[in-house]
Amino acid sequence: MILGYAGKFLEIGLSEGAFKDVTFDDKLLKDYVGGRGLAAKILCDRLISKWEELDPLGPDNVLLFLPGPLTGFFPGGRVCVSGKSPQSNGVVGSTVGGEFGVELRCAGYDGVIVTGQAKKPVYVFIKDSDVEIRDASRIWGKDGKETNTLLNKECRRLLSERYPRYGEWKEPAKLYIGPAGENKVRTAVVMAKWTHAAGYGGYGAVMGSKNLKAVAVKGTGPLPEVADLGKVRRMIDAVDKSAYENVLWRRWGTGGGGYSFAAKSSSEPIRNWQEEWHDEKGYGVDQFESRLWVKQSWSDFGCGTNCMKIAQVKSGKFKGAITDNPDYEMEAYLGPNLGIFVPEENVFMASLIDDLGLCGIQTGNVMGFAAELFQRGILSKNDLDGIELKWGDTEAFAKLAKKIALREGVGNLLAEGTYRAALKIGKMKGKDVLQYAVQSKGIGIGAHGIRSGKDFSTDIGYACSVQCGDHTSITDLPVDGALGEVWAVFNDSAICCNFSGGFGLPRNLKFDFYNAVTGLELTRQKWGKGGGLKTLQIQRALLLLGGPDLKWNPKVHDDNPSRFYEPLPSGPYKGKAADRTSVRESVQKYYQEAGWDENGVPKSETLKKLELGDVDKALRKLRK
């Protein structure tokens, strides 16, 4: 057995109400590591033969909660949520912070695999090797904070009844869904703690489709044994030391972005990306800090970076709303992207989105899209159930968000996500509205535009990504270049937080860390040319096989949203845009380097070299 793993996975069959332990052999774990990589492999092995017909929101989808071997060791514990995505019909490895992965590994499991569909709402409670599927009818329908509070109370009661001499327990870690997940909204998230969420992929809807409200876990054992404990300790210290040196990062987290990604780099979505520049000083991080933050340092267990904050609105119309920072993505998508430039209103929106169990990025994207259609007169007040969706009208957007979470009226249409809603509205109105949909293959683009060229996102970053609009998994040239997707695959598989330690960690540190934990000898180079590519090829193949409602044509869909080819209308980079010819060339170059044919389909020889014969077989029908 490879060190650093607990040694077994928990498989829960919700249809039968049964569970069992499963294991994977060392070679497989060595190749796919954990988290995102392992998720891709498990889904491929079990479902590739029926992938095209598989409804992500049907009982046959497999839902995965997978930590990685570094979870619990690398400061800032995260867990990867995956399955067939109801957004892209591919596989997205969506990681979320919190203690879930750490508790799970202390309970003796390297991951949870959920199959089938429960007949009525349930939640799963794991205490070490005691697993039970419990009735969740009392929690079903509750919003995020209520769900978390009720689950907390129930788990605490169970633990104190069962272990009367134990004293006080630290709260079990939970992953749960809000009303949006229950209603199978495609932009629903899997939540952790108060405000953390696995957003990209839409796995909240998958949990909802399985009638699974939550998974709570309490592990009392140690973390798995590691190969070189002394070295692991030194690596943890190195990450923390680096964090301590990034003073402003610890103080502000990504919250500085709401102003700086607009004013400095012109890459922030404003009014559905019609602009990417603003100079609203009232939206600066200092304003959030002094007016809203009630807790300056907040972190998940074991993280010395504490880049999260807790914000609460203390006065005015939205008094009482609580959320974290908000982080940059929430600041942008639930702020300027909706024409909102007031910190209090942004915190209120982020708090509401948490409570509804929606993804701030995807929901902010689809609401911005709807507001632009309203601005252009394509959607009328009547189409929007009487809501006058004017830019900056926080209450109007709040109403719309609730409708989306509950799939009420126009909310039912927008609950399908930007791309699917655009197809439907286009048909309804007889107009091409896809040009206003700022998304890539079903997934709204993260809040880092490409037009100014001043942000980290590259011009084929979203077009070629196997996680589509996901800003944490962009592509670069060469394939294993500085921002290549293979590094995102490693981060999401071994599972390291992107932000833990701040910036300036040595490039090899994560690989050294992995080796110290597992006792293996993996290098950056080896991963970039080998291991990392395997997961990428599987994700690409499953993305191209698509689903019953949508399939992707690389010639059309491996591209930027058309908005990115419109010149920036304002700011220091006014006039700049992505260039169609050069993007097309780069996409072709990326295909070649990734071992894909000119239509973007992974080549036989590429797959065979990577020992992915079954994937090759499944792709034959696409190679005509």
Binding site: R156, W194, Q312
Partner: protein, 130 residues
């Protein structure tokens, strides 16, 4: 764990009258001559939980695997939690000289401590979560 988000370390407050030591039916608890901290003799501890009941803050912790009581022993006079807290720049934990403070004041039950912290963070909104 009573209010999500309101986490805090819940550790021995070093009471001067040692109700836990007095409550132990097996004489498993003693007082360190060097640091005045409570020491647990694992061989004598039966995990009966009497010290948890006796503690005004319900602080002693039952080790989940060994079923023995764990009480802060001040790391033999050099508490490591204080060290990392200072290194990390939080400056929340600090060592003080014995005799400086009315220690019993800090031996609070988790419910009480959570309530104050939640109100500090969330004001009247905290009532919804308690």
């Amino acid at each position: 764990m009573l209010v999500p988000g309101a986490d805090f370390p819940h550790l021995c407050a070093q009471c001067e009258d040692y109700p836990c030591v007095e409550a132990c039916p097996f004489k498993a608890l003693s007082i360190s001559r060097k640091t005045s901290a409570v020491l647990v003799n694992d061989e004598k501890c039966t995990g009966c939980g009497k010290c948890i009941e006796a503690c005004p803050g319900r602080i002693p912790h039952m080790h989940p695997a060994d079923k023995k009581i764990v009480i802060c022993d001040l790391c033999n006079g050099n508490p490591q939690c204080v060290k990392v807290c200072q290194e990390g720049g939080w400056n929340v934990l600090k060592t003080v000289t014995r005799g400086e403070h009315p220690y019993r004041l800090y031996a609070r039950k988790p419910e009480e401590q959570t309530r104050s912290l939640a109100i500090k963070l969330y004001g009247e909104k905290a009532e919804e979560f308690i």
